[in-house]
């Protein structure tokens, strides 16, 4: 009897393996878990100082009037990393506009052509107080960006209150972003 039970142990192990594998696949395909979710963000950390040449209203890259995060120390603000070639960035444009009504949003335009970026802003409007250009993506890495778009909300002391990877939609505006703004004492 004991041996017969032992005979089924490999079968049970195999079935467990199958169940766990299917559960993992199911969670990924139904969006409960994302393969791009690295489970880590800049949230709770201090935003590193970065200074970037800015993109002005005429589509010119201007190194004399940089986007310098040090200038924003002491104020609450948001950073939105975007590009004209990024479809989810188009999808989140209305939500970023909404966010810009609550606090200043700084844009970081990654690996983009100035004329493409300007065409994007003409089409979707410009929600940004200032736009910095990040032609090689290094500034984005410096602030912990994984893939576009990403949005960070920064407290006056430089602490990252919220780091959202992926597009912002109504769900975030009424959820994690509202909570972050409440922490900062800002009404949406």
């Amino acid at each position: 009897m004991k041996i017969r039970l032992a005979f089924f142990v490999p079968v049970i192990i195999f079935l467990l393996f199958v169940v766990v594998s299917f559960w993992g696949l199911y969670a990924i395909t139904t969006g409960q878990r994302s393969t791009s979710d690295i489970g880590f963000s800049m949230q709770g950390q201090t935003i590193p100082d970065i200074a970037l040449a800015s993109l002005d209203q005429h589509g010119q890259i201007n190194a004399n009037a940089p986007l310098d995060l040090a200038d924003w120390q002491g104020k609450a603000y948001a950073i939105n990393v975007w590009a004209s070639w990024c479809p989810p960035c188009r999808a989140e444009a209305p939500a970023i506009h909404q966010l810009s009504k609550s606090l200043p949003v700084l844009g970081i335009n990654q690996r983009d052509k100035p004329q493409d970026a300007m065409a994007f802003l003409d089409q979707f409007g410009n929600p940004y107080q200032q736009i910095g250009v990040d032609p090689d993506g290094k500034a984005s890495i410096a602030i912990g960006v994984q893939a576009l778009p990403e949005t960070l909300i920064i407290a006056p002391d430089g602490r990252v209150i919220l780091h959202h990877r992926g597009p912002v939609f109504a769900n975030e505006l009424h959820g994690s972003i509202r909570d972050a703004l409440n922490t900062l004492g800002i009404d949406q």
Partner: protein, 154 residues
Amino acid sequence: MTAIVTGFRNWIMMIMIFAGMMMLASYPLYSVQAILPEEQMADPLDESRARDLAAELRCLVCQNQTVDDSDADFAITIRSIIRDQISTGKSDDDILDFLRQRYGDYILFNPPLNRMTFILWLAPIILLIGGIMLIIITRPKNNPQSMKERGHDR
């Protein structure tokens, strides 16, 4: 009775062969050169440090590729940052800390042993000990008792 024990031993053999095939399948048999000539550093020692570091890092926008062998923008930028930091005199640990601060332990292909990862690290040892114990338990014994049983089976 003997048939059941033999069947069980066959099962273990099959599982071991399966495990061996899984290990072989995960072993990189060939390596793709993603590094472009213009990326390389002038000093070959610095370049080999940069390559070694990149091989330890996960490309976070790829499916299980290292930063060293990916063509993704993310990997190219990380490689460039590694080379920037080496040329400003940063140590390997400084560079890994810079990246861990931003992307956590997940960016490392060799996760450090800690409270969150000890099961991952101990699992192979536990499985090995468990496997050896299973083989010992199910090994046919050459004692008079089992000889008698074999006689009965025939």
